[in-house]
């Protein structure tokens, strides 16, 4: 049986999401942006730090969303790209004394290349097989980072401590607040770019591949190119998120980028709604705050409580935050009438 037949007989891995349903309306987006801009002015530094992490994980979930929701490919290996991004930023900052802002595009480019190259062999695989191949990447990464060969640069098991940047131009804000706005600017930029990417010719090609690979290739879409491209873009964005994460946490170590992270990101994507980009931030909130809530309910059984909460979400709203948003939209529509 050839790969083509495989694809034909297999049910589509991801449900088709119409293009317009992938984003928020213009008005809603502005309200969200205003909220994100204003909230830090009224909360403690610790909350600002949590919000920064929310944006960073949001970016990583968004990247996975482009890959899975956009081009229909699974990945359980996002933690590997996140780790490469984090280490690239950390190494450039600590060993090459490079400005933190400059390290991010480099982290993005390196991860893009890494993802693109990984996408080449991964082309032969689809569905659960691809998920497994990326899973292997995620499992291998923490070990690779510990290798004696790289140790001079990576610090081995000990990891690297990163210096947190101060606000530039003598701006009167704390390090946390500056980093938050810096992250917000990058996140908004990448979000807008991602929305435009999915609306562009390339985005349509991604979605055509997702919906039916054979039909897409019949219409002249270069399936191999666009599949690897989707991997590259996703990895690149994840790398930027990883770099930001290293700066925010001020520390990188192999233990921080285990398979648990990859699964968390995958979880965030499903909870936020596969293929719905604004859901990324909701999914990210889920993976950051729900474990804390679970721990608050029961310390010994935090894992079990988290499991129950996750089960409830998947059972009640299988399409995640997207479904909630749709229902809310319909309700508002009815009220207006």
């Amino acid at each position: 049986m050839s790969a083509v037949e495989d694809v034909v007989t297999e049910a589509p891995a991801v449900e088709a999401v119409p293009k317009r349903a992938m984003t928020l309306g213009f008005g809603t987006s502005l309200v969200m942006l205003a909220l994100l801009l204003l909230v830090p002015l009224f909360v403690k530094n610790f909350i600002i730090f949590q919000l920064t992490m929310l944006l960073i994980y949001g970016l990583a979930v968004l990247a996975l969303n482009i890959l899975t929701g956009g081009s229909g490919q699974f990945s359980l290996g996002q933690s590997a790209f996140y780790a490469v991004g984090a280490y690239t930023s950390a190494i450039l900052m600590e060993h090459a004394d490079m400005n933190y802002a400059l390290t991010l595009p480099i982290a993005g480019i390196i991860c893009f290349a890494f993802g693109f190259l990984f996408g080449q062999p991964a082309l032969r695989l689809s569905g659960v097989y691809l998920a497994l191949a990326t899973f292997a990447l995620a499992t291998a990464m923490p070990q690779l980072l510990k290798l004696g060969f790289f140790e001079h640069w990576t610090g081995g098991v000990q990891g690297l401590v990163v210096t947190k940047p101060d606000a530039p131009f003598g701006l009167p804000m704390s390090q946390d607040m500056w980093l938050y706005y810096f992250t917000l600017a990058i996140t908004v930029g990448i979000y807008v770019a991602s929305v435009n990417l999915l609306r562009s010719r390339s985005g349509r090609a991604f979605m055509a591949i997702r919906d039916n690979e054979i039909a897409a290739s019949a219409m002249g879409v270069d399936v191999a190119l666009y599949k690897t491209l989707a991997f590259g873009v996703s990895a690149g964005i994840t790398g930027v998120a990883g770099g930001l994460g290293a700066i925010a946490v001020q520390f990188v170590a192999p233990d921080g980028y285990t398979i648990t992270l990859a699964i968390s990101l995958f979880l965030g994507m499903v909870v936020g709604g596969v293929g719905w980009l604004p859901g990324s931030i909701v999914g990210s909130a889920f993976i950051i705050f729900v474990p804390n809530i679970a721990e608050g309910i029961s310390k010994g059984l935090s894992g079990a409580v988290f499991g129950v909460l996750l089960f409830l979400v998947i059972f009640l709203v299988p399409h995640g935050a997207r479904q909630v948003a749709m229902v809310a939209q319909q309700l508002i529509g009815k009220l207006k009438k």
């Binding site: 610790f46 510990k146 081995g156 921080g256 310390k299």
Partner: protein
């Protein structure tokens, strides 16, 4: 009767004034930083209750039990301890989040007993920047004893390096001509151990004739043991984690090879190393210890162990008393309580560090007799002594004197 009344009034005023003055003086002596008050001392802690290292969650539970008993007995100098312990699942980014939550949101006076080398490294710079004590971290790495760079961080456990220096001292004294082979895990723990051994044998480094390292991901380390045997040493030292310690001891026994075998304290558990390796292979193996082993019958009726058992029976009935993590948490929390007692009414962060750095030969019921805690402004390593032990029959038997692993000279 105007006169007596007036006099009495005067007395009343005078006594009031005296009371006010003494109260004022008492108030002046009470000094607090964030997290401490007349009624409460807030302590933050981070331990992996979930995730791959969740077995260490027992450390946090044992600490909580100690503080609960202190509170039930009236607290420390009248203040109750509010022990806030969070889970980091052994993930450094999560540890940073939890540390920030403890310091900025829960406003604790200090962090105590945070567990894991990576997690502690991740928060060390932040905590020192905030000038919050990071006391008695639960990791054996040597780097916590660095008061010049990190004046707010202090270790507790005997460091890997001091332990291996003790083996070096023993080998120098008792087996001066023996050739040594070392097997170590290729990570910070194994390398710390190896460095300590080399420092201890600095007078004659050529005695180490073979070194083999293994990766923690390797399924078996038999081939490394065989290679070490081929160099024909008299002593084999295993700086391994429990699984590999058991494998190596077993392999040495299977090859009918009878070198002097030393295994690190990390892998000295009877239940997880010596029994799986086979009791016949484990005979004569040496290691070192600082805490009492509750399963050792020689401590039956020992007051220190009795206090520990009473605590577990009342506050932690679900925890297995033979779990070494429970003893570790118990011992560390006991030190913490002592430091807070010594702080008296001056519960500032700098005074906490000062008191923690001025322990002098402080003995605890859970430590081996003769092993005491000593710290100083330049010595942030409370436990530095161990006693050698040898496996005989079905248990470890202590022998020789308590040996200090302190660096002498340099």
């Amino acid at each position: 009767m105007p006169k007596p009344t007036r006099r009495r009034l005067a007395t009343v005023f005078l006594s009031l004034a005296v009371v006010a003055a003494t109260a004022g003086a008492a108030l002046a002596q009470k000094k607090y930083d964030t997290g401490a008050s007349d009624t409460e001392i807030r302590i933050g802690n981070i331990v992996p209750y979930s995730g791959p290292a969740s077995a260490y969650g027992v450390v946090g539970k044992a600490m909580a039990a100690v503080f609960k008993r202190v509170n039930d007995d009236g607290g420390i100098n009248g203040r109750k301890i509010n022990f806030i312990s969070y889970d980091d699942a052994c993930s450094p980014p999560k540890a940073v989040e939890q540390a920030r939550k403890l310091i900025e949101s829960d406003e604790v006076l200090l962090l105590f007993g945070t567990l894991g080398t990576a997690s502690n490294t991740a928060i060390q710079k932040y905590v020192n920047g905030k000038k919050v004590p990071q006391l008695f971290v639960a990791t054996g790495a040597t780097k916590w004893n660095d008061p010049k760079t990190f004046p707010w961080t202090m270790g507790w456990l005997p460091s890997y390096q001091s332990e291996s220096r003790i083996y070096a001292k023993y080998l120098t004294k008792e087996k001066p001509n023996a050739k040594i082979a070392v097997l170590y895990q290729n990570d910070d723990m194994g390398k710390d151990y190896l460095k300590g051994l080399k420092d201890g044998l600095a007078a004659d480094p050529s005695r180490i004739i073979a070194e083999e390292s293994y990766e923690v991901a390797e399924p078996t380390i038999d081939s490394h043991v065989v290679r070490l045997k081929s160099s024909n040493p008299d002593v084999i030292i295993l700086f391994t984690t429990p699984k590999f310690g058991a494998q190596a001891i077993k392999k040495v026994g299977e090859m009918n090879w009878k070198p002097v075998t030393i295994v690190s304290n990390v892998s000295a558990s009877t239940a997880t190393v010596m029994r799986p390796a086979g009791l016949e292979n484990s005979q004569g193996v040496m290691s070192a210890a600082y805490a009492k082993d509750v399963s050792d019958p020689q401590w039956a009726g020992d007051p220190g162990i009795k206090a520990f058992d009473d605590l577990l029976a009342k506050y932690l009935p679900e925890v297995n008393r033979a779990d070494a993590s429970a003893m570790t948490g118990y011992n560390m929390a006991t030190t913490m309580v002592e430091v807070l007692k010594r702080c008296g009414d001056d519960l500032t962060r700098s005074n906490v560090m000062k008191q923690a750095a001025s322990l002098k030969q402080f003995a605890q019921g859970g430590l081996l007799p003769g092993i005491t805690l000593t710290t100083g402004p330049d010595d942030f390593q409370p436990v530095e002594q161990l006693q050698l032990m040898q496996f005989k029959g079905e248990r470890w038997q202590l022998f020789g004197d308590v040996i200090s692993g302190e660096l002498v000279g340099n």
